[in-house]
Symmetry: C2
Subunit: 345 residues, 2 copies
DNA sequence: AGAACTCGTCCGTTACAGTCC
DNA sequence: AGGACTGTAACGGACGAGTTC
């Protein structure tokens, strides 16, 4: 009895109408909170709805209203902390705004895959697409083509004509560098993220700008790939440079690799070298030593993405301003020691 | 010219039919690869489809077929490596099987939220729900109620009547402990995950079982919350115990905290104490020292979840067998040293 | 003359009968 | 007689125009 799916068709609006003794149109009015329904009638209808466990069919509704209240979300790359967090909070924000989200995760970002994925979403009649991608190319792949729906990209560089939300990587990088300068460091090296990553480029820009303003030299950045392994590799290179007193690393994972390389080389952090990371992943407070880094507001970013969608769709609000990361000072940074200190301008 | 959304309604099957000079029904046959269409007619129709950039309406189709080819995915908790990876690979597997996935991420797991989220998905007419949740309670919240659609839970404990896929945490924990026993450790402590987490309980079970089989003592596990901070806290406690020569930590993040605590206490790893983690997060190879841990096959798990959905829906296949994590030996484990070694049975 | 309903049409597809060589 | 089509009804809601009190 009532054990498995009763194959009985779900109740329709007509079933509800019959049970409540009204027309289906009246039921529709109740469903959509329209006026001109007597309270008593409304109650009867609601009772019938409950009794029949009636739920309106989104397909039928979408067919006639030509609105699906559905959004497409494309997330590219590995399930890293930043994108995963952004996606999660965007998802929550969308649900709060009573939108449904169809997610398409993909590891490749070639133009053909990006395009066919976007078209897959369009075929589902999404009203807008949100794109969370680190690589410039992923954004550009969707920029040219006419999809018929607006695209909001989470992207820290201005690119083409897409709508855009972002966290201010440039300002964050400046904060990192100014913190090190404030401690007295004169040469601040940089380990950058991959050259195709927009965040990486913005951080390089901020690092170079802050250095330039203080008349400090900017040596060619070492380019990693976000992984701890690449941080380790470049860390070994840097360890051999006795001039270096501080490093701004473009993300926390690479900073972990650098820490590892320096420990192996017998360099003390922050005694010999100071290190600043970026992201403030949950692990960062427990590195050896705890990492000074920039905390990014992914909760806010996810909400901004949804706010931007609503703005574009004309439902609500205006697009938000970018947020600046917060410097979190831990013990991986300190004033340079006398021995290794070189040019303190 | 063609600048913004042409407000022109998308083409319908009738537009295509008219252009191809056939009835809309013939177009439908072409769309659905049904027989009894002459090749020449088919070609004309396909040409018309291309020319009008026609895409069938999923809403209209769902309305009449009573199938949406849509799946609901509920992911609870923080955007951690394990659940995020599983969700990503499930998403890809679903797309490969030509299913659309509606995702609902949520941080709370109370019964009311779980239930209302599941009902939200049911209202979208999903054909099945996949649930990725660490906590027992999240599973149980969906177990009792009659949703009308099958639920596949990613859960390492058998619970209620839900369909289930999982990675074999019990076997993984045994591998960890046997590795330490093989190295000669006689007392193997355990830092567990939170008691409401199924993975944590299974790992405790495996740890205790392996210990029991070898006649070794199982001291009461310390209970953390998966965070590096809790690992650090328990690591400080363990550092004070001079009997202890090895620790099996229930995940890599907590192991990082333990490492940090031991370093502070002047304990050498693996010189004084050996440590094994669980998960093999990307950072684990770059901890100080690189962490011996158990690699989980989240790619496989995501695919298994989709395979299980197809099995339940009767489309395909049979449900898959659970996978056993792989032991990845790095340098955080070694034979116990003479000084701190106690009861080597 | 409104408030409170009812009626009829339409949305874009697929399913089920026909119809015509 | 059967391959290659065409015509007509649903599917489940929403909305504008009628109808009743």
């Amino acid at each position: 009895m009532g054990d498995h799916d009763d194959k009985a068709r779900a109740a329709t609006i007509f079933d509800v109408a019959r049970l409540a003794g009204v027309s289906h149109q009246t039921v529709s009015r109740v469903l959509n909170d329209l006026p001109n329904v007597r309270p008593a009638t409304r109650a009867r209808v609601e009772q019938a709805i409950k009794q029949l466990r009636y739920v309106p069919s989104p397909a039928a509704r979408a067919l006639v209203t030509r609105r699906t209240r559905t959004l497409g979300l494309i997330v590219t790359g590995a399930p890293d902390y930043g994108p995963s967090s952004t996606a999660l909070y965007f998802n929550e924000a969308a649900r709060d705004a009573r939108y449904t989200v169809i997610t398409a995760s993909m590891r490749e970002t070639d133009a053909a895959s990006m395009r066919s994925t976007a078209e897959l979403l369009v075929r589902q009649n999404v009203e807008a697409i949100v794109l969370i991608a680190a690589e410039r190319a992923a954004i550009d792949a969707l920029d040219g083509i006419e999809l018929g729906v607006p695209v909001v990209a989470v992207a820290s560089e201005e690119r083409g004509a897409l709508h855009r939300v972002w966290l201010d990587q440039y300002a964050g990088a400046r904060l990192a560098v100014e913190h090190l300068i404030g401690l007295g460091h004169g040469e601040i090296r940089h380990i950058a993220g991959p050259s195709n990553a927009m965040d990486a480029a913005e951080r390089v820009r901020g690092w170079a700008a802050a250095l330039g303003e203080h008349g400090l030299p900017a040596r060619e950045p070492l380019v990693g790939d976000w992984s701890p392994g690449s941080g380790y590799m470049h860390g070994r290179t840097l360890a051999a440079d006795s001039e270096m007193t501080s490093v701004f690393v473009s993300n926390d994972q690479m900073a972990l690799g650098v820490l590892h390389a320096f420990a192996e080389a017998g360099l003390s952090v922050p005694g010999d070298v100071s290190i600043v990371g970026f992201d403030d992943i949950p692990e960062a407070a427990f590195f050896a030593p705890p990492l000074t880094t920039l905390r990014q507001d992914f909760v806010g970013l996810g909400r901004d993405a949804m706010a931007s969608v609503l703005a574009v769709l004309g439902d609500d609000d205006r697009a938000p301003a970018p947020r600046v990361p917060d410097l979190v000072v831990r013990t991986s940074t300190a004033a340079p020691s006398r021995e290794r200190t070189a040019v303190t301008s």
